[in-house]
Symmetry: D2
Subunit: 300 residues, 4 copies
């Protein structure tokens, strides 16, 4: 089976290779020519433009997009559409907002092109050795591609979640949960790191991973991180985010569902990106106003 | 009426003066001799030791303590007890934990000495020109001192809340509310300060204070703060705290009552005292482990 | 000066009357004919259609909209535009999202019609006796209407905040702050209500309003509420919301600004609208799974 | 090796059996005679009093306590002490507060008796087939008992965390993390359950457990729970708690460490135990006071 593959970043490169190793004839394109060359060294068929990629695909085309969420996906779809035939299939395997996926499904439907949204989890290692995939879209389209999802995923690691958008929806919530779990774990380790006990945090993570209630892949990654840098001395505690936690919260707000832990996980990420806060300045100024409590002065 | 007064810090000095100006014969003591001298310049009778203070008080002694919460109050009580007679009255006007006040009430009761706990709000200005006082203790003892509370408070600004500890309890909750209100106000001003609109925040605070739902003394203080430093450029956003918000949360936890806003007000104060967080390091390390997301490195 | 007035709900009726009492010639319309009749009894000129209203306005028309946020505002503008001349002025005095206001400003600008967005605070009483108004829009347009805002507001209670949208932006943040302040106050009163002390909560609110740091209009309203129902026994604790708290949070999220207290105020409102939660079911099920902790069963 | 075992509840029974199956000569006592009889049917030596238990232990006694945290542990220690010799060892394997464990260590030290605190995780299944144990105490004492911890734990599943109290401290934090992880997972599933997609939540949990970032034992338990009750229709969402989440938060507060997610996990548990809230009543009353927003009335 042939697969057109667009986007050879960290995740895409590994996923394309994963497909290739499972016997798919992958025709891969990226905006960065080096990425195309590198993957061709692995035996993957290179394509140096989207058109060239489409021309190399026979029959009902299946094209996997692994490009940044937002405009790049729309741009890519616009460029592909002229080269697609009725019922060719675009799979968006990136981190798109599920509302965008529903919109894109409807747009492509109006042009006779099929579409699946696929949330992909498991990190860069998973992309290569076995991912976790959550797919939204029509049954017939999913069934046509089912072997693809089965083969690139770990055993039992794929799910046809439901109609259009549901794959990215479930993946979005997955990431919301992930934010909460990570923050919970991290808070716990801060309490331990600051405690009067001189704990070996790598050993604590290790024991947590053997028989405890909180054993998890994330805890294994904590153990791994401490094995490289026992006090994380070299790492700044700046927590970036790429959108899905925010979307989970926004979706919950739209639905009127209380998700305080997911909300605070996100909010603390934003807080971590600030050195000083205007909120803090106002509170400090107020304490000074009514109580004469000294403020700390900014050193010019 | 005579009043022994112990503790001439910012609040105590003004409160002693307030009493003096209302015609009370205040005999004032402080551990810092300068404070004693300064208040004697205002016409207040100085005492250079607790014993000397007690000796100058006739009849049923009334002694107002305005010393830091915790050990200083206990120490002061220990030093006073030998010089007190049955039904002499100690009023703790400081920010003591209400559980301590209950304990002290019981301890003094066992010695035949009367006790009132008085939460005092209104800041340093209020201490001088009219405070807000919340008093806990027995009826007879409160009634004996009622005129004191009436005179130092603004009109309608004192309340015999209930039995022993209730004065400090109500004051504790007052401060918990205050934390939440301050944080809410401050968050709103951060949103405005960072917005695309070039808002004059002093003017915003001014208009909020004239007819809006959020008009309040705290908002007046916001206006005052911005009048001195329009962008609070000179102030660091470090938010200290003195215990009562924490006690409110701890009390709520003991009662199983959800107080998320008071909790987060306190938690964000703690966060403001950290430059970097171990929590952030752990989350950043995890994102790097599973997603290859670059961490920001600590610059040595 | 003439003013066309659209929308005679609780706020609009009072505001129209306020204008009338300040000597403006108000021509008022509402979708509900009873509202029109009622306000005509107060001496306000009735109009039984938007066209009729426009026809009665001479010179540069000034039309105040006080209709529900969202589609009603757009619909109203669509119906008005054909009857407006260049530089006639629409003032949206309702609770519109500031992003909508910016969009409407630009739309009307393209048609040569002027526009101001005005956030109005102070409740229904304020609407009649003196509101708090925050206005966004161009200087010339604001200046033309400045006396209107001055007259319907309490002294010092109006502000030309900035360009288009800024009035509704500042009002939105005002409401976000209001959510936080209300939740903080309410949490404190729950702690007091559940405490071992038999506190008279009306008296507590009263004393808080005389000299304390938390004195505020909201606390006066707390006192008023307790004066009517000392334990609030007749009121269910369901907290509805009308959008501005949510918009404040969404705006903060878009700006990457941490507003935990405003977030939690909103989230707890959503929580109050649920009888039982799926979140709770999942946690209870998990505790049963790993610890054998009994779950509470739903009674059919 | 002999082990005295006190407390045959869900966890204790399984743990005693686990020890027995690993070849230890377990002498078991419980306050409930049925529990003693039941475990004797499994070949464990019964003891019908603490004295009898002690009398059956030779040499340096090792006694494992698995009784409810708090007073029962202190009571049990008081009853045991007269029957212990110098350097006999008490292991507290229950969920004691680490501060209590430090206190008990010091108390027993003063009597010449050795003490280890052991946090035990893994649920009731883990207690039988392989637990996760975190031990605090002196090296010599730990080393004497090391084989016990090794044998009852899964491979790599035990850790000598540090000095006295550290075992229960690490276990406390483990539970704090667990609270946060559970709440994060549960919030995500509520968002999915309420969504427009008709998701099969068991299948979602299943796919999350195969290759995703959030794969974890807790997620496996979610899958298991949904396999029994696909919509959790029979379970009320009341989330009880047994102390360790609260202690984690209190400890963090004492240390000035921000743990918003752990805090909110706990707070939402408390909220789940309320049908209606006074907080909600106050906010609803306030909205009525200033905006005339109708309150929902309590149906008598």
């Amino acid at each position: 089976m042939q697969i057109g593959f667009v986007g050879l970043g960290k995740m895409g490169f590994n996923l394309a290779l994963n497909l290739h190793r499972h016997g798919y004839e992958v025709v891969a394109y990226d905006v960065a020519i080096d990425n195309i060359k590198n993957i061709s060294l692995e035996g993957v068929t290179p394509a140096y433009s989207l058109i060239e990629m489409c021309q190399q695909l026979d029959g009902r085309k299946v094209i996997w997009l692994m490009v940044p969420a937002g405009k790049p996906v729309d741009d890519c779809i616009e460029l592909l559409v002229p080269h697609l035939d009725q019922h060719d299939i675009i799979i968006d395997g990136g981190n798109s907002n599920f509302n965008d996926s529903v919109r894109r499904y409807n747009y492509l439907k109006s042009k006779g092109i099929d579409y699946l949204d696929c949330g992909t989890s498991g990190g860069v290692e998973g992309a290569l050795y076995g991912a976790c995939t959550m797919i939204g879209g029509e049954d017939e389209v999913f069934n046509h591609c089912a072997s693809v999802f089965r083969d690139i995923s770990v055993e039992n690691g794929y799910l046809h979640a439901g109609g259009p958008g549901s794959g990215h929806f479930v993946k979005m919530v997955h990431n919301g949960i992930e934010y909460g779990m990570m923050q919970a774990i991290a808070e716990g380790f801060e309490v331990m790191e600051q405690s009067k006990y001189d704990l070996d945090l790598q050993q604590v993570a290790r024991v947590f991973n053997h028989g405890s209630v909180v054993r998890s892949w994330l805890m294994e990654l904590v153990e791994s991180a401490f094995s490289k840098d026992p006090k994380l001395d070299t790492i700044k505690g700046v927590m970036h985010s790429s959108g899905e936690g925010k979307w989970t919260l926004e979706t919950a707000l739209d639905m009127g569902i209380p998700t305080p832990v997911i909300a605070l996980s996100l909010i603390m990420r934003y807080r971590s990106q600030q050195d000083d806060t205007f909120t803090g300045k106002v509170v400090a100024a107020l304490r000074n106003e009514f109580g004469g409590h000294a403020v700390e002065k900014v050193v010019p």
